[in-house]
Amino acid sequence: MINTLDQIFVLLKQWIVGLFPEVLQPIVGIVLCVVAIIVTFPALFAIAVLMERKGLGRMQNRIGPNRVGPYGILQPVADGLKSLTKEDIVPYKADAVVHFMAPVVLVVVVFMGYAVLPMGRNMTLVHMDAALLFYFAIGACTELSVFMAGWASRNKYSLLGAMRAVAQMISYEVPLLMSSVAVVMITGSLSLDKIVEAQNQYTWGLPHWYIFTPWGLAGFLMFAIAATAETNRSPFDLPEGESELVAGYFTEYSGFKFAEFFLGEYVGMLSISGLGTTLFLGGWSAPLEVLGFMPSWFWFFAKIMLSMCVFIWLRGTLPRLRQDQLMNFAWKFVLPMTLLNLLVAALWRFLGDGWLRWVVCSAILLGAYVLVGRTEMRRRHYGPRSYRYAE
């Protein structure tokens, strides 16, 4: 019974595939998985948007949407219908082809990342040897779509927003990669399935998740910061800072194309949450051994929705950074700390089992963070801001 529930989607797929003739079976299997991904994640996107609008409303001392359906829970449906029926306006001077391609490229690329995420036991679409590399390679393509959107609109706000977004995404992609490399070093594999398998073990009923190790905790913090910046979420949402740039790179988009950007952003957030979950939070493994009777896919989706809550919470809490602060933070704090973390992960690997590696690794990381914090607190001064431009 427990096993059936755990494998219910796998069994369902096998049953449906079995209805087709032998020749079509591989293709039907792939199409079925792709359709499942394309249906599930927009549904989660709708839930996340509702959660965000209600939760953010509460954090800002207002009620949030409450008109459509009981407690406003049908708001996403209304939003979807609205964006479908709205007029699609393309600026006269815009580059029509590139303007049309940008949201399509974004959505396609964002969905491709899901191909390698293990969403439950035996629930990976493509078992790839270099899954993590694939994920980052695909993720790098979103920058291009952002640029295409900003440039094709022929609007200065769009272009400025795109330049900011691309600069930010490139800067934070480096720490994102570096913090993931630590996990690869420990596991010895780029395959996300193997990374989850390595974490799916228990001692005294407690899981072997990487976040419960010194280097894993530090790596996860840096990963979370970089992931927030990579998805252009608050406090790193300068590219779409509405007080400065109207809406950033998608200023000139309306109707369904705007909805596509919106979808791309949220599905991207869900996807990067999935990656963070897989790398540091044990993927689909249960948080306690006694909870292992719950289906594995439940834990995966619970973890990514929890990460979405953290994203929303951060957005309701933190003020937006300034452009120079953003860049300084990426290159002068996050990147050196992820490099240090690589060193610590290597030490962890080669000190062998035992308490010594816990002490040494924790001491190095704690010392570094405390030292940086202390010096920065001493050095802080509130003068006029200074810029240094490259020509």
Binding site: M128, I138, G139, F147, L159, V166, I170, S189, L190
Partner: protein, 166 residues
Amino acid sequence: MTIVFWILAALTVAGGLAAVTLRNTVHCALAVTAAFAGLALLFLQLDAQFAGFAQILVYIGAVAILVVFAILLTRGSETAEHGVFSRTWLAGLCIAAAVFAVLGWAVLRSVNAIPQQAAAPVVSVKDIGNALMSRYVLPLEIVALLLTAALVGAVMVAMHEKGEAK
């Protein structure tokens, strides 16, 4: 040759041709990106996962963005007034054809020189990593040093002198 190969080849060649014939510079950059993507997919079709993903990560994720930024930050992205071909296009065509001919000749000859292998060797990403970290560690470090030097040099060129007011 499978049908997938022909689709990818058509995509790559069309991207390359568009890159030299389109009038708008940014369109050219995007066409080059399409050609890069086609090349990456060709690598993947040959089961060279690492090369394919590295191609996407480096060329689409970084080089294409760099090209686009360079276009935007320098001459502007307005369309060229008259034709896109320079006066020496014939010489350029000859050189390109000559290079292609030499490469093609070398590739075609190598088919006879090397005995046909029954199965293509399977090289996993792990094997590549092991090779880079053991046998080829010195070249790797030299390349890394070179890149760091280039990075520092670029920053130095872009930076103002200390005393200069700005």
